[in-house]
């Protein structure tokens, strides 16, 4: 038996994370009966935007992922969702989240129980082509109105985008935010509350900045968190970052993670090697992280896991990214709707890394990943060639080449983040085993499926 190098302890925040997530989905189911505005849209929809209403929001990507979990526990039931969307003509090469979501509408079945919630309207930022079409299609199916914001992220810093272009992009979004607010008021017949909107914007900035700080804490050796756990923690910012309880959760989580760092409490007691991954994982097959654990390997994160909910600010001097400084930290007072709109637009454009990677790949994304290799002291990389997401798979082979040229052991496997029909577990596991041997690692204990 190999001796454990570090102590471990269960994450105290775990149960709270589960409770908040469940509450959010429950609030969605009960929103109409409680007189709330209920909207749908994607995770990058500037989700602080509707906080001027008493509202609930069904965020599409995590919902699509939740449906894919069924593939593990109840494959026949899962197939009913994808078949419903495929029989309606949505082909297999479209976003797997979208197909699951549309299947849920067509079956009138909410995966957490009961009928699919009656959405008042859809709001989506066009940071990804598929996402824009997703809610257009849903609007056509349901007859509910749809507002699309056209968002063009800043270029990666390495591209040296001019301040003038950045200002134009910022203004372009601010104008659309005002337009969206007027449109939402018209659709709902309700007045938009600027005070709650301002708080929602500040919360969105703080939640995402806090998540970036949690990720930064994972630079420590031993890593206090493993990616499998992080995937369950970052999701709160994806579905509820403007909420007070979510901000409070991340404050507590950061305290706990920093305490783990100070006391050398590890995610994996062996920590023989540290890796990063790329793209979303196959959500229905997170066992692959368990297999890695049996070799003492800890996945310390991913561009995706860090960035989808993370507010990251570029440090020009050190050519790296740190947690974005919130308006509160900078002492910026936000008093009006227009000021809040400017803060929200600026924050999204400046600190969003995943939305940037979806639009602009190339050298910028590679720089970001190399930065992770250096700063998180990474020994290897596993790249999920994700056939279900055109955005996050953009430029993946360029990343692989760059990692290899740098001499970093790198493995790829094919799959799909939310459609198990494109994932071959036996083959993936065989690859991981070969990869572990390539990294000179030995299995420390037997892998038992489902544990």
């Amino acid at each position: 038996m190999v001796e454990k190098k570090y102590k471990t302890a269960p994450l105290k925040s775990w149960d709270k994370a589960k409770e908040i997530r469940l509450n959010i989905y429950k609030e969605i189911a009960e929103a109409k009966s409680k007189g709330k505005v209920l909207l749908g849209g994607g995770a990058e929809s500037l989700i602080a935007l509707p906080t001027g209403f008493d509202y609930a929001m069904l965020v599409g990507e995590p919902y699509g992922a939740a449906i894919s979990y069924l593939a593990k526990s109840d494959p026949d039931e899962y197939m009913k969702y994808v078949e419903a969307s495929e029989h309606a003509g949505y082909p297999r090469d479209l976003c797997a989240y979208m197909r699951n979501y549309i299947g849920s509408i067509l079956r009138d079945k909410y995966v957490f129980g009961g009928p699919f919630p009656k959405i008042d309207f859809y709001l989506q930022a066009g940071f990804c082509d598929t996402h824009s079409k997703w809610y257009q299609a849903v609007s056509d199916i349901t007859g509910r109105p749809y507002f699309s914001l056209d968002l063009v992220p800043f270029d990666w810093e390495i591209e040296g985008e001019s301040e003038k272009t950045k200002d134009l992009k910022r203004k372009y979004i601010v104008d659309q935010i005002h337009e969206a607010i007027a449109w939402m008021e018209k659709q709902t017949g309700r007045e938009f509350n600027d005070e709650t909107f301002i708080q929602g914007v500040l919360n969105e900035c703080e939640s995402t900045s806090l998540w970036a700080k949690v990720c930064i804490a994972n630079r420590a050796i031993p890593a206090p968190l493993d990616e499998k756990t992080m995937l369950s923690l970052y999701v709160l910012a994806v579905i509820g970052r403007p909420r007070n309880d979510v901000v409070e959760f991340y404050r507590e989580l950061l305290d706990e993670v920093e305490d783990r760092v100070a006391n050398q409490i590890a995610a994996n007691p062996y920590e023989t090697a540290r890796i990063i991954t790329d793209s979303q994982p196959p959500w229905f097959a997170l066992d692959l992280f368990r297999l890695l654990e049996t070799y003492g390997v800890v996945s310390v994160g991913a561009h995706y896991t860090f960035g989808l909910s993370g507010g990251w600010e570029y440090d020009e001097e050190n050519k790296t990214w740190e947690a974005g400084k919130t308006p509160q930290e900078k002492g910026v007072e936000v008093k009006t709707r227009d000021e809040a709109a400017n803060v929200l637009a600026d924050w999204w454009l400046r600190t969003g890394t995943v939305c940037r990677g979806v639009r602009h790949s190339g050298a910028g994304k590679i720089q970001r990943i190399m930065d992770m290799v250096d700063r998180w002291k990474v020994d290897g990389a596993i790249v999920h060639l994700n056939r279900g997401c055109e955005g996050t798979s953009l430029g993946q082979m360029d990343i692989v080449s760059s990692l290899l040229e740098r001499g970093l052991p790198t493995m790829t496997y094919e799959g799909n983040h939310a459609d198990p029909r494109e994932y071959d577990e036996n083959r993936t596991f065989a690859r991981i085993e070969s990869f572990m041997e390539t990294m000179g690692l030995k299995q420390l204990y037997e892998f038992k499926k489902g544990e």
């Binding site: 290899l404 790829t412 071959d424 041997e437 390539t438």
Partner: protein
């Protein structure tokens, strides 16, 4: 010390018997749905050639995609490690190994003392492996030997979709209907598969000397296409079908008590 190295592959089971590091017996059998029986057959053939009783085997190593089916082996390792160890034993100058098997193709970058530096495996579709060539030769109604020979006589390159074995087969049928010379179709198949193999191999940053192994490299037409695809002059390792089995037998012999 007498050791047995078992490579339980998707298409064939191969066994090498070593006596103090020297190969004294080899055996092969078709892998069936009863992998233990397939191994038993190959093992018996190898023992017979080595004139050794099963009880004399002191250590056993097992590798190959079916390795988990064999219980009680002293050493278990993936093909990647066994390939590197076997290739290094055969030629210490080999820096990159390309193994083309029935269902898998892989490239392994070999470092000092046969240590694996990096590896890549073909993606899900079998269009990058020997089974694809077998399927195409069936479509052409040729034996594998005839298919390989015909390919070497080709005078022109024809691009073919080797991304998918099923699409490629229908493309071959179309080429036959168009009365494309048989030699050119055979070459097109080899070029297509070689393209997949070489682009996978380039992921590990191919470095000379390159050693080829696996059953499919006994096909001269395919080797020629791989040579062209790499733009290098790879060697075919001795007994290319048995390199993995040799590697795992050596690892079993190396293992400390």
């Amino acid at each position: 010390m007498i050791t047995a190295g078992i490579d339980l592959g998707a298409t064939y089971s191969k066994v090498v018997i070593l006596d103090d590091g020297k190969v004294v017996g080899k055996g092969i059998s078709k892998t069936t749905l009863e992998p233990e029986e397939s191994v038993e057959k190959a093992l018996n053939a190898a023992l017979q050639e080595a004139k050794i009783d099963k009880g004399q085997v002191e250590r056993t190593g097992v590798t190959g995609s079916g390795r988990r089916a064999i219980k009680d082996a002293d050493v278990v390792a993936t093909d990647v490690t066994a390939d590197a160890r076997g290739a290094y034993h055969l030629d210490k100058e080999v820096k990159t190994v390309i193994d083309v098997g029935g269902e898998d193709a892989r490239a392994v970058k070999v470092g000092e003392n046969g240590k694996v530096i990096n590896s890549a495996v073909n993606d899900k579709c079998a269009a990058g492996a020997g089974a694809f060539v077998e399927a195409m030769s069936r479509a052409m109604q040729l034996s594998l030997e005839e298919f390989a020979e015909a390919s070497l006589k080709s005078t022109q390159e024809i691009p073919i979709n080797a991304q998918c074995a099923i699409f490629a087969e229908s493309e071959v049928v179309s080429l036959i209907s168009d009365e494309t010379p048989r030699e050119d179709i055979c070459r097109a198949v080899h070029d297509g598969i070689a393209d997949r193999i070489t682009s996978m191999a380039k992921r590990v940053l191919v470095e000379e000397k390159v050693g080829l192994m696996g059953g499919a490299v006994m096909n001269k037409g395919l080797v020629e296409s791989i040579r062209e695809g790499l733009g290098l002059d790879p060697i075919i390792l001795p007994d290319p079908l048995f390199v993995s089995a040799l590697g795992i037998a050596l690892m079993a012999a190396d293992q400390e008590d």
